[in-house]
């Protein structure tokens, strides 16, 4: 069996009386393309908030490359190699695209030296994702699609081992979805493990090697895309009883 990069054991999270996550366990293998799906409100975003450090899990443990990270502040998790994009893009509004990318480059990949030539590295990433010609623009000048690409590019600039893509494709056209998929495939080939959270089924199904399905804060299924699609529980979660 392949090496586990991320392991989540019995994680629980409550908001007041609302159980957002109940006893969720799953793992992601090194260099895996992993899909996380579930109906709206099933706890996907809560789970990745717990992984990235925006929220603290209440029960259970979260291990990244064998290290317990449940109590770490978010920035240290990023430096360990977990990067995420936000469902609603959160760019640094006063900075150009290039400068947006320099932040993660300077604070994670080069956190020790702070002196490397991050601008050219940032430019390379912008080039990879197709934003190089807009490097000097401010985020406010971008279209929605480019904004999502920037969100992804910024996560890439953190040079992660694990990239969590939180609905990077919502609202994009079929062609644009393919464009983003292509980028993610390429990143994965380059050795980055990817967790994809997505409502666009076609995208998750074609991308993921393995999928976990959440419903009402609990894990209800796990398996290959084929197994998941034919799972009765999943059908019930999506289509109802």
């Amino acid at each position: 069996m392949a090496e586990k990069l991320l392991e989540i054991r019995n994680v629980t999270k409550r908001f007041g009386g609302f159980h957002a996550l109940t006893d969720v366990s799953l793992h992601v293998e090194k260099n895996e393309r992993f899909g996380l799906i579930g109906p709206n409100g099933s706890g996907k975003t809560t789970l990745i908030n717990c992984i990235s450090g925006a929220l603290r899990n209440e029960g259970g443990s979260i291990l990244f490359a064998g290290t317990e990270i449940g109590a770490m502040p978010a920035y240290r998790r990023t430096r360990l190699g977990i990067a995420r994009s936000f469902q609603i893009p959160k760019p640094f509004t006063s900075m150009t695209l290039l400068e947006n990318l320099c932040i993660p480059l300077e604070y994670t990949a080069h956190a020790k030296s702070h002196g490397a030539d991050v601008a050219s590295e940032a430019m390379e990433i912008l080039d990879q994702i197709g934003l190089a010609d807009r490097a000097d623009k401010l985020p406010a000048d971008l279209t929605q699609i480019d904004m999502r690409k920037l969100e992804l590019a910024r996560a890439m600039a953190a040079k992660p081992q694990l990239l969590i893509s939180d609905e990077a494709m919502a609202g994009l056209s079929a062609n644009e979805v393919d464009g983003i998929l292509e980028i993610l495939f390429k990143l994965n080939e380059g050795g980055i493990t990817i967790i994809m959270i997505e409502h666009i089924m076609r995208a998750v199904m074609s991308f993921s090697e393995r999928i976990v399905v959440l419903d009402a804060g609990e894990k209800i299924a796990e398996g290959t895309p084929d197994e998941v699609v034919n799972n009765k529980e999943v059908e019930r979660a999506y289509l109802g009883e």
């Binding site: 109906p39 929605q144 919502a170 056209s173 089924m201 999506y238």
Partner: protein, 243 residues
Amino acid sequence: MANRIVVKNLEAGYGSVQVLHGVSVEVNDGETVVLLGTNGNGKSTLIKCIMGILPHTGGELYLEIDGERVDLAGKAPEEIVNLGVALVPEGRRLFPMLTVEENLLLGAYRPDARKDIDRNLAFCFEAFPILEERKHQLAGSMSGGEQQMLAVARALMSAPRILLVDEPSVGLAPIFVSRVIQKIQELKEKYNLTVLMAEQNFNQAVKIADRGYIIVHGQIEFEGKDTDELRENEMVKKFYLGV
């Protein structure tokens, strides 16, 4: 007198992202029509357009209220509410720091609803006894299912003729989903409402639907003239799970 929703070739989106690509939907007087599909396909966007929360960029959108045609282009949500349209919004959008009763009373804000306020409140408490028990409790402290009941009841307090329901099942345990959806049907019959409901939960939604549409990627992929057509399960599964 007839109350209808007519949507023709509607186009809408957020900024440069177009979400609806020529959607046509009709809801006839006294019908319950469901809008099916998984998240991110445009169900909520369509509801937002009808409510005036999001402007549409192309196509036609009008209501018939008591047989009279009202064009919705350029109308603000509050104006549309005052026409007799109520929305049970996605995520419920209650006033969490107000009591159950205060939430309900705010539902009757529009002038036409105020005159029947006592009758409607009594009816809401009859339909949802739990709300009467909890009327002095803060809305935010109730369970998800109770909150959804309150959201439905609050919409009814505005004495609507057309009821829009956006994703009533989100975040609810299965038992509550079926209860909420049954309630919507009961109330619809009692008030003779015209109902358009966006819902992902296929099997629950078709229980109360007269007809339905499946929306995929901002387009109507399938129109079921009755629920039997919709129950054509393999087809639905294809649209839902992308296989």
